[in-house]
Amino acid sequence: MREILKMVCILSLICGLSGLTLSFLKEVTTERIEEQKLVFVQGPALAQVFDKADNDPVKDRKKFTLPSGEDVVVFPAMEQGKLTGVAIETFGRGYGGDLGIMVGLDLVNDKLAGIGTTTLKETPGIGSKVAKHGFTAQFKGHALDGLALTSTGGDIEAVSGASVSSGAAMEAIGKALTIYESLKDQFATTWPSS
C-alpha cells in the first residue's frame, strides 16, 4: 500500500512540475508564436496582394470589433505614409476544410486590390488551383459589385473541375466585403496619413 502511495505521489509530482513549467513557457512564447505565424502564413499572401506597399502590414495590423461583436484583424497597406488599402483574412468552406483567403481592398479607387490564399487543403492539382495566378488574377482591380462566378451570373471564371473550391473562395471574399463595408469609416482615423 505504501509503495503504491509513493508511486502515485512521485508521478503526480513529476506531472505537476512539468505542467507548471510548460504553462509558464507557453505564456512566455504565445505572443511571439502568433507574430511568427502572421509573418510566415499571412505575410506572403499580403505581399502578393499589395505589391507596391512600403510598410509592413503584419506589424501595423489592428484589431477591430464588428457590430456583431466579433473581432477581426485588419492589415493596412501604405505608400509613402498614406493609407492606400486594407486586407482582411476570411475563410470559406472548401472541399478539404477551411480555405483561407487574404482579401485586399484598394481604398483609393474603392476596388479589389487582389486576393491571396493563406490556408489551403484543397485537392492537389485540382482545387489547389484557386491559389494559382489564373484564378487570383481575375480579382486584381475588380469592382466591388458583380463579384460572382459565371455560373451565378457574375464574371469570375471558376477553376475547371473545382466548383467547390472556387465557391469557397467566393464565400470568403463575400464575407470580407461585408466586413469592409461595416468598418470602412474607421480606417482613415485608425491609420492617419503622416
Binding site: 509503495e3 512521485i10 513529476i14 512539468s18 513549467t21 510548460l22 511568427q36
Partner: protein
C-alpha cells in the same frame, strides 16, 4: 574525466545512433530531404536527449522501479512540448518543414532507449556526456544523409546551387524510395569500411548491423517483464 570523454565520444563513431545502433529510423528517413532539415531535427534531438538524460539521472534513485517508464515518458514528452513551443517561436519555417516529426521526437527510440539503458543507471555527468555525444552523432548523421540526398536529388547543398549546369538531379533521391535506398547504402558502406579495418587487423569480417526490438532497449522495460 577520461570516463566522461569516453561516454561522449562513443556516440560519435562506435555507437553512432542511426548508422550503427539503427535507432530513430523514422526521422532519419523522413527529414533528410535537405541538409538544413536534417541539421534542424538533429539540434532538437540534442536538446531533448541531453536534458532528458540529465533529468532521468537526477531522479533515478527516487523513482520506484514500476513507474520509471511512465516517468521517463513524462519527462521526454515535456521536453518535446518545450521544443515545439520554442521552435514555433524562433524557427517557424523549420517547424512547418519538419511537421509531424517534431512531436514524434518523443517516440524516437534514442530518447527512451538512452534513458532506460544508460541514464537511469549512471551519475549525472556521465548521463549528460552520453546524451550530448549521442545527440551530436545523430545530428552529424542526419546532416550527412540530408546533404547526400539534397546534392543528388536537387543539386543543392544547404539550399545553395553548387552542381554544374549539365548535372540533372535525380528526383528519386528526395522522395521516399531514395530515403530508404540511400540509408541502406550508407549503412552498407559503413559496414564495408568496418570490415576492411577488421581484415587489416586480421579479424574475420562481420555481417551488417541487425535491427530488432532489443536495439530499442525497451522490450523488457515496457512490458514489465
Amino acid at each position: 574525466m577520461s570516463k566522461f570523454i569516453k561516454e561522449f565520444t562513443k556516440g560519435l563513431w562506435k555507437d553512432l545512433p542511426p548508422f550503427r545502433l539503427v535507432l530513430g529510423l523514422c526521422p532519419t528517413l523522413a527529414v533528410t530531404k535537405t541538409a538544413d532539415n536534417g541539421l534542424g531535427m538533429g539540434l532538437a534531438v540534442i536538446f531533448v536527449l541531453t536534458l532528458s538524460n540529465f533529468m532521468v539521472s537526477l531522479v533515478r534513485t527516487s523513482i520506484p522501479a514500476k513507474v520509471r517508464i511512465a516517468c521517463f515518458i513524462v519527462i521526454a514528452a515535456s521536453l518535446v512540448v518545450a521544443v515545439e513551443l520554442l521552435m514555433q517561436a524562433y524557427a517557424y519555417p523549420l517547424y512547418t518543414q519538419l511537421g509531424i516529426f517534431v512531436p514524434l521526437i518523443v517516440v524516437n527510440c534514442i530518447i527512451l532507449g538512452r534513458a532506460e539503458a544508460f541514464a537511469s543507471k549512471n551519475p549525472i555527468h556521465l548521463a549528460v556526456a552520453d546524451g550530448l555525444g549521442m545527440g551530436i552523432g545523430f545530428t552529424l548523421s542526419l546532416t550527412f544523409l540530408g546533404a547526400l540526398r539534397e546534392l543528388l536529388g536537387s543539386g543543392t547543398l544547404f539550399g545553395a546551387q553548387i552542381t554544374a549546369e549539365w548535372f540533372k538531379p535525380f528526383g528519386f533521391m528526395v522522395e521516399a524510395p531514395g530515403a530508404f535506398v540511400g540509408l541502406g547504402l550508407v549503412l552498407g558502406g559503413m559496414n564495408y569500411f568496418t570490415n576492411w579495418q577488421r581484415r587489416k587487423q586480421g579479424k574475420a569480417a562481420i555481417d551488417g548491423p541487425t535491427h530488432d526490438c532489443k536495439t530499442c532497449g525497451m522490450c523488457q522495460g515496457l512490458g514489465g517483464k
